[in-house]
Amino acid sequence: MGTRKGMEVSIGIAEAVMMADVDVIPAYPITPQTHIVEHLSELVADGHLDAEFVPVESEHSAMSCCCGSVAAGARTFTATSSQGLALMHEILFIASGMRLPMVMAVANRSLSAPISIWNDHGDVMAARDTGWMQIFVENGQEAYDHMMWAFRVSEDHDVLLPIMVNFDGFILSHVVEPIEVWSPEEVKQFLPPYKPPYRLDVDKPWTFGAVGIPDIYLETRMAHNEALIDSQKVMEKAWDEMAEVVGRKYSVLENYKTDDADIVFLTMGGISETCMTAVDQMRDEGKKVGVIRLRMWRPFPFAEVAKELGGRKVVLAVDRALSTGGCGGPVASEIKAALYPLDKRPQVVEFIAGLGGRDVTIGDFKEMYDKGAAVAAGGAVPPYEMVGVRA
């Protein structure tokens, strides 16, 4: 049984990374992720964590350094956000393509221009197809627990893929809230030391990241994609075992008050909890509404989404990013793809909420519900809406 402590979520993440006994931390500071690597550098400098902290000159170098260190067999962590994630972009493909397990915490933040340091999911949606596993957490406890979990899944020999743990910048990263920390025994029980199947070794020289001619590239990509899809099984096993160790059970989707709900919100990340508060209030008013929250984003849980959403009247898909000039929200787009093969499909009403840090309130969710209720009553499905935009 761990100890319950009040702490800033970023500090919680750093403490969890220390508990995971990471070997190398190549890092470059960027708001709102800075507190994580700042705290880790203190933990290393003060002798609490025996690790190599590499202050690099850019995020491109941070991710390159991560690749080198994982290839050498070291458990590796980094964190970034927004423009930093964008600057890493080309190396993200290299990390996943070379099948290098590592954990990156991404404090989700909008992309410039105009310059914005505030929260949305624009940064990670631009990195959606980089071949990484990607999950979204909704509170500090989940962020903390998923550091240990992420290393375990990433380093599993059936997976061997890097993973992004996405948590909302500011609305999670800068919040003080209660977190139950793990005991060293619990960490030991759940997370074995990293044993790379192979690594850079002068006594057994191999070449990593060599050219892939057309005869081999296709097969390599196929293997990569299959490993990413199959990682769901390893994730679920790790969630089950984490529940045995610390008593908190996570899954691909989180259902909140959905049993009899005709209308459900589909959300991802920190605003899910605000949405749940709104649902509590609407339930008091007798409305049959619930929340289904996506925890696993890559691989995408098509079967589970179809199963959970298939029988509903209306799905209120709330995106935190915009596919400019395209489908609207990237999450809604996947939802629709998951529902398309079904004979009986719910209507999907789409919202793009909280771009660039615009606060998403309980009142906003109630207004979204009203629009969904109008569709459930036979109204036309409106085009996607930018929530709160001034005319």
Binding site: R4, G6, F170, E177, P178, D359, T361
Partner: protein
């Protein structure tokens, strides 16, 4: 659920105030949440921070729009910011000022209950620095107390101050206790 909005200037420790309330609440087994008004830190600019205290899990992550309590660390902000904005029914505004509460209410048309203490004088005397954030927590707890029952336990807050300030905690604790004693509450008109 008790919601608090903190008004200060960048560098005056409004965020720390909010965090200390959350830490104290969590320490005594309740649920606490604290966060800044998100953005770049700018010394001297008017800033806000928020805290929530509850007996059940806090899930709302949006800003506080209808505070039950408002803490104003710097009286000069009364001229710049509508600190009473959205104040909940029965809510209280707590101001650090050497002026009588009646004067402040009359000049700034402050709604709700109003609690005042000369936080600056107490801070200068005990901490010897013009920083009122820990001092004014005493005023906040006094103003929001329901009989003997305070928003967060006084011992829990003292413990939170110890954890945060270590060897310089003592003068901060003395200041917060002094403000708790001296705060005058003017009931609603």
């Amino acid at each position: 659920m008790f919601e608090i909005r903190f008004h200060g200037r960048g560098g005056q420790g409004a965020v720390t105030s909010a965090e200390l309330i959350a830490h104290a609440a969590i320490e005594e087994g309740k649920f606490g949440q604290a966060f800044p008004s998100f953005g770049p830190e700018r010394r001297g600019a008017p800033v806000m921070a928020f805290a929530r205290v509850s007996d059940v899990t806090i899930r709302n992550r949006s800003a506080v729009y209808n505070p039950n309590g408002v803490l104003v660390l710097d009286p000069s902000l009364l001229k710049l910011v509508n600190v009473g904005d959205g104040l909940a029914e029965g809510g209280v505004i707590v101001v650090s000022s050497h002026r009588p509460a009646e004067d402040l209410r009359a000049e700034f048309k402050l709604p709700g209950r109003l609690a005042v203490v000369d936080g600056l004088a107490i801070a200068m005397k005990t901490i010897r620095r013009p920083i009122t954030n820990t001092t004014m927590l005493g005023a906040l707890l006094k103003a929001t107390a329901d009989g003997d029952k305070t928003l967060v336990d006084l011992d829990a807050l003292e413990h939170a101050l110890h954890n945060r300030f270590g060897r310089i905690a003592a003068p901060n604790i003395a200041a917060f206790k002094r403000a708790f004693k001296d705060t005058v509450v003017l009931e609603e008109n």
